[in-house]
């Protein structure tokens, strides 16, 4: 029973027809059935075939995760559902834009940190920076944590995009 109760985080990729309402179907399914969405990204990935890729990061017991995948697969416009966490080895990335304002010591420290994290400065004023950072969710979380005492103002994150390693396509 204990393994059943274990809550895990999974990254699930869903290839869908890019038609009106498809995102509402996916989101409605999660809210209607009480599943969690930690992150969700969506964009058209093949304009010829009119398909979009939705990447959902979700948490649940193994039984719930299996239900989520089966329920997604049941939606009529869904082509494929792949659990990148269990089925393959995958690469996950997120992009964040992070605004920090401050002067003096804090400003210097923020810039130094951004270099350590390989963040790019995409906007600068005498008393602020906007950093662009890509990486795994944990890396972005860590950077934001470090910016907090240094004058963190606001954050905009894309959510996770993910893809399997190797030559195979989903």
């Amino acid at each position: 029973m204990t393994t059943q109760e274990q809550i895990n985080t999974h990254t699930i990729s869903v290839l869908v027809d890019n038609e009106a309402g498809v995102l509402a179907r996916v989101i409605g399914l999660f809210s209607g059935r009480g599943y969690n969405i930690d992150s969700l990204t969506v964009a058209e990935v093949d304009d010829g075939a009119h398909t979009s890729r939705i990447t959902v990061v979700t948490t649940g017991t193994p039984m719930v995760i299996e239900q989520i995948k089966a329920q997604l697969g049941r939606l009529v416009p869904v082509h494929r559902v792949v659990d990148l966490t269990v089925e393959t080895d995958s690469v996950e990335r997120e992009l964040a834009l992070i605004k920090v304002s401050g002067k003096g010591e804090a400003r210097v420290e923020a810039l130094r940190m951004s270099e350590a994290f390989r963040a790019r400065v995409v906007d600068a004023t005498p008393d602020s920076f906007v950093f662009e950072l890509t990486g795994r969710t944990e890396k972005i979380d860590a950077f934001i944590g470090l910016m907090r005492p240094l004058g963190l103002k606001e954050v905009s994150r894309t959510g996770v995009a993910a893809i399997a390693r190797g030559a195979e396509a989903m």
Partner: protein, 585 residues
């Protein structure tokens, strides 16, 4: 084929090409072009209901009794919102339905136009799929797709929302054959390795039980035939859910009766004690499993279901087989025969001895009464006097529904129409209307409760208009009996708002509609009254006055395990229900 047609003409042409003979509907501004086309043709007959909910349940009754999709046509706004209950009901019970809704013109969508509702938004969670048709060019494809999605795989309701300008616009028609869906392809054949494993397990079973459900009915008459063959070959006991009644003949000695909350003692104990459970087209609903951690603790579970999301949803399957019941059973039978597999006869004989001891409890026995009609007795007599292959039963929701399931008996599939998953009071009359439209010469009876029946009573008017001789057999206990029973069990007998106050005189009500009213109050007048009902040509409302405080047994109180059943001869309802049980519905 490249002839141009209006959207409304395309709708009628598509319905004809899909073999639709009847649609249930109600007109309004946003569907007038379609009604105009209906007026100008004869192939599709329109049945005018009295409320859009009635149209949806009529379509469900039609679908369940024929295996064909039920088709509904309603207007925008209130027409569509009135259809929501029936759509949800069809989704829960896996009933194939296509519901065409009118919508305001495309350029008005989003403007809070007159009778505008976000129909695709509202119906998204209560349909298998839905469409907003933005251009007449898409209409033929969408309509044919709608029928394909509604009727294949796990069946369900599909809404096609058609703005009024699209109904006037011209486009090229396309035949069904030309339409193939890009992504939607349900799996019919089961994995053969899993079928081998299942056959292995079945032949080694010592205490097996077949647990069958609505999926057998959904799969078609062939599935029931194959099921009968397999059950005969193995000699195993078989039980079914409420939704699967009729797939296996109740007259057969291997039949244990329905299982679940109000199922038989023998069916539930066989489920609890079995070592191999063969689930065929049932979904481990909470009315079946009761307390999940105590559900059939020692069995290996084989689960055949066409919908992957039914597998491992509530109960983990040891051998999941995704596929259509008929396809899988065909393969299973072939493998069984080719291996010359044999059940463990010795173990099986012992198992049947155990089962017979449970059967001997006679859990459906009740105390007879000579002065008043017991509801169980009423259903028993109704069964004896009306049984036959051409009799179709619908129900409302409540105690009478359970008594109908327990005391009416079914030998064939598609003869039993009930709202199982959603439990919609008001289902029975319109469903009976739909069944009678499909089977004009059949005897169609709605076993009803006096409270439920008032929810869609106006459909008697539909029955009268179309000369549909449906029989509404009301077990009138002057209570929302099922609610009263739960209040007795869980709320100290405080019958808050469950008394059916200010009831109409059902005999006079029938007459007001132009139907016939019959009343029976004493056991000795019941048989004659039922005969009179059967001899009456038109629709009948039968007011059967029954004892008021009867409870429905057996009962597994919510949150209890299968071996914690309450039987009629026990202490009654004087039991403690756990806190976990009290929060269950």
């Amino acid at each position: 084929m490249s002839e141009m047609m209006t959207g409304a003409q395309i709708v009628l042409k598509a319905l004809q090409d899909q073999g639709v003979e009847h649609i249930f509907g109600y007109p309004g501004g946003a569907v007038l072009p379609i009604y105009d086309e209906i007026f100008q043709q004869d192939a599709v007959e329109h049945i005018l209901v009295r409320h859009e909910q009635g149209a949806t349940h009529a379509a469900e009754g039609y679908a369940r009794s024929t295996g064909k999709p039920g088709v509904v046509l309603v207007t925008s706004g209130p027409g569509a919102t009135n259809a929501v209950t029936g759509l949800t009901d069809a989704l829960m019970d896996s009933i194939p339905m296509v519901c065409i809704t009118g919508q305001v013109a495309t350029h008005l969508i989003g403007n809070d136009a007159f009778q505008e509702a976000d129909t695709v938004g509202i119906t998204r969670p209560c349909t298998k799929h839905n469409y907003l048709v933005k251009s007449a060019d898409d209409l033929p494809r969408i309509l044919h797709e709608a029928f394909q999605v509604a009727t294949t795989g796990r069946p369900g309701p599909v809404v096609v929302d058609i703005p009024k300008d699209v109904q006037f616009a011209e486009a090229k028609y396309m035949r069904p054959a030309a339409v193939e869906h890009k992504t939607y392809k349900p799996q019919l054949k089961g994995d053969i390795e899993a079928i081998y494993t299942a056959v292995d397990l079945i032949s080694k079973a010592k205490k097996p039980v077949f647990y069958t459900g609505g999926g057998v009915i959904n799969s078609g008459p062939q599935a029931s035939q194959l099921l009968r063959e397999f059950v005969k070959l193995t000699g195993f006991p078989i039980t079914s859910t409420l939704m699967g009644l009729g797939a296996f003949p109740s007259a057969d000695p291997q039949w244990l009766g329905m299982l679940g909350m109000h199922g038989t003692y023998e069916a539930n104990l066989a489920m609890h004690d079995c070592d191999v459970m063969i689930n065929i087209g049932a979904r481990f609903d909470d009315r079946i499993t009761g307390r999940l951690d105590a559900f059939s603790p020692n069995s290996k579970k084989i689960h055949i279901d066409i919908d992957p999301s039914s597998i491992n949803k509530n109960v983990m399957a040891d051998v999941p087989i995704i596929g259509d019941v008929a396809h899988v059973l065909e393969d299973m039978l072939r493998v069984w025969k080719s291996r010359a597999a044999e059940p463990d006869k010795k173990a099986l004989a012992d198992w049947w001895t155990e089962i017979e001891a449970w059967r001997a409890r006679k859990c459906l026995a009740y105390r007879k009464d000579t002065k008043a009609i017991k509801p169980q007795y009423a259903v028993e007599r109704l069964y004896e006097l009306t049984k036959g292959p051409n009799t179709y039963i619908t129900t409302e929701v409540g105690q009478h529904q359970m008594w109908a399931a327990q005391y009416y008996r079914f030998e064939e599939p598609n003869r039993w129409m009930t709202s199982g998953g959603l439990g919609t009071m008001g289902y029975g009359i319109p469903a009976a209307v739909g069944v009678q439209v499909a089977h004009p010469d059949a005897l169609v009876i709605d076993i009803a409760g006096e409270a439920s029946v008032l929810m869609t009573m106006q459909e008697i008017s539909t029955a009268v208009q179309y000369r549909l001789p449906v029989k509404i057999f009301i077990l009138n206990n002057e209570y929302m009996g099922m609610v009263r029973q739960w209040q007795e069990l869980l709320h100290g007998g405080r019958y808050s708002s469950s008394y059916s106050e200010a009831l109409p005189d059902f005999v006079k009500l029938a007459e007001a509609y132009g139907a016939t009213g019959i009343r029976a109050e004493k056991p000795d007048e019941l048989d004659d009254a039922i005969r009179k009902m059967m001899q009456t040509k038109g629709p009948v409302i039968f007011d059967c006055i029954v004892t008021k405080d009867e409870n429905c047994f057996p009962m597994i109180p919510s949150g209890a395990a299968h071996n914690d059943m309450l039987l009629a001869d026990d202490q009654g309802l004087d039991v403690e229900v756990s806190d976990a049980g009290k929060v269950m519905v």
